[in-house]
Each structure stands twice: as C-alpha cells, then as structure tokens.
Symmetry: C2
Subunit: 137 residues, 2 copies
C-alpha cells in the first residue's frame, strides 16, 4: 500500500483557450494560476488550482500534435489524468505486472524535468493516465 499516490491534475482539451478561460474562471471562482506554452508537447496550457489538485486546459499549437489529433478525433473534453507517485520505477513495475502497458518511451522527461510515463488507454479501460514522479518519495 502506498498512501502517497495522489491525483495531480485533470487535463481538458479545448479548441480555444481564450474562450475557455473565462468559463473556468467562473466555474472555479478564481483566475488561472499560470499559463505557458509547452513546445515539446505542442500545447498552450492554462492551470487552475482546484484544492490540492489542478485543472489544466490544453489547446494544441497546431492540428498535427497529439492534442490536435485528439480534438479532430474525439472533440473537446477530458484528455488525461495525472497521478503523482513517489517512485516512478516502482509504480511502473507494479502496473506492468498487472497488465498496464506504457506508450512511447517510459520513463521520459516531462514538464519541469520530472520523470513521467503514460499508460496505454487500451490497457487501462479507455483512459489515458500519466504518472509523474513527485520527487519526494
């Protein structure tokens, strides 16, 4: 048992970040805590605090990006959830033993230089799940 596995954020794909920000500002009762372009992922991101977790709005920088292709295929909506784990290698070993497979290189370096891995939605029951090492475990 690892009580320190926790929900870090929920990422939502949107067509238009400037249209979505006022809606989520009204919903949450406060403005985004940050906004940035992540060139390596091809997205413009706005972050909203939602208690200890966050909501992230993702707008693709172009159609030929992972989130751009997601929007073409599925339309806007929930894109992935991210769980924070103390040690990524331990979590991946446990997941693989249960039949959860990764997509792409895993682990790799994500935002902020943290080690991350993505679990294949075909093995999780339809859900794209990112694991990120908290660095505190």
């Amino acid at each position: 048992m690892d009580p320190r596995t926790s929900l870090d954020h929920v990422a939502i794909a949107v067509e238009d970040l400037n249209a979505a920000i006022p809606l989520y500002t009204a919903l949450l009762g406060h403005a985004p805590s940050g906004r940035e372009r992540v060139e390596s992922e091809g997205v413009d991101v706005a972050f909203f605090d939602a208690g200890p977790a966050r909501l992230e709005l993702l707008m693709p920088t172009g159609p030929d990006t992972p989130v751009g292709r997601f929007l073409s295929r599925r339309g806007p909506g929930l894109h992935h959830i991210t769980l924070r784990v103390p040690d990524l290698s331990t979590a991946l070993a446990r997941c693989r033993a249960a039949g959860l497979e990764t997509v792409g290189a895993a682990p790799r370096r994500g935002a902020g230089g943290r080690a991350v891995a993505f679990l294949d939605p075909h093995t999780t029951g339809g859900l794209l799940i990112e694991l990120v090492e908290s660095g505190t475990g």
Copy 2:
C-alpha cells in the same frame, strides 16, 4: 475568489468493474476504499482514494442508464469530474452568468443527500462537470 472550490473526484466509465478493480489497485497501490450500488443513477461504483481526491469507477447496471448509454456511444473512459463548492447556489449563479448551463433539475439531491448539479457539456467545452455542495461553506 473562492479558494475552497476543489476537485472531489474523477469518474471513469468501465464495462466490467471486477476486471477494472485489480488494474486500478495496481495503479494506485491500494485496494478500493468502498464499493456500492447507486440505484438512482443506475451504477455500481468502486471508490479509490488518490490523495485528497478520489477516482470512481462506474459500471452501469444496464444498457438503458446514463452510463450505459455513454459506454455505447463513446466507449469506456473518463465520464465526468466533480468539483466541491461551499455553496451551490452561489456557484450556479456565477456559472450561469458566464454562460454555463445545467442539465436536468438543478440543484437536486445526489449521493449522501448532498445538493448537486450537472453542467451541460455543450456549454463547458465538452466536459460533464458535477458540482456538489460540501456543506461546510
């Protein structure tokens, strides 16, 4: 600004709860904290703690239920997110002023007798969002 709006849980639609529970147990590193049937919503639910928030797995009790229809239409995956707000009337007034509309009766009584409302995905940018009153605000 209302710093007390927080992410309560993320709900994931699954075809087979008994198959999904071992996968999410491996993912989170611990067994579900609870399991119950919610007749009014037509779902069997398993809850997993994920830090201060929770993951909920939803399996429909039959095809002619909201989650059963969701599975037929979209397949398994993320179904909705739930935000906890101190006062639901205040939150709904703020949301409606920004153009976020509700679906069905709102507010109504949800699990545990708490006041809840669902925001129409057509107005949120594709995402079904439940608001639940924390009762502590």
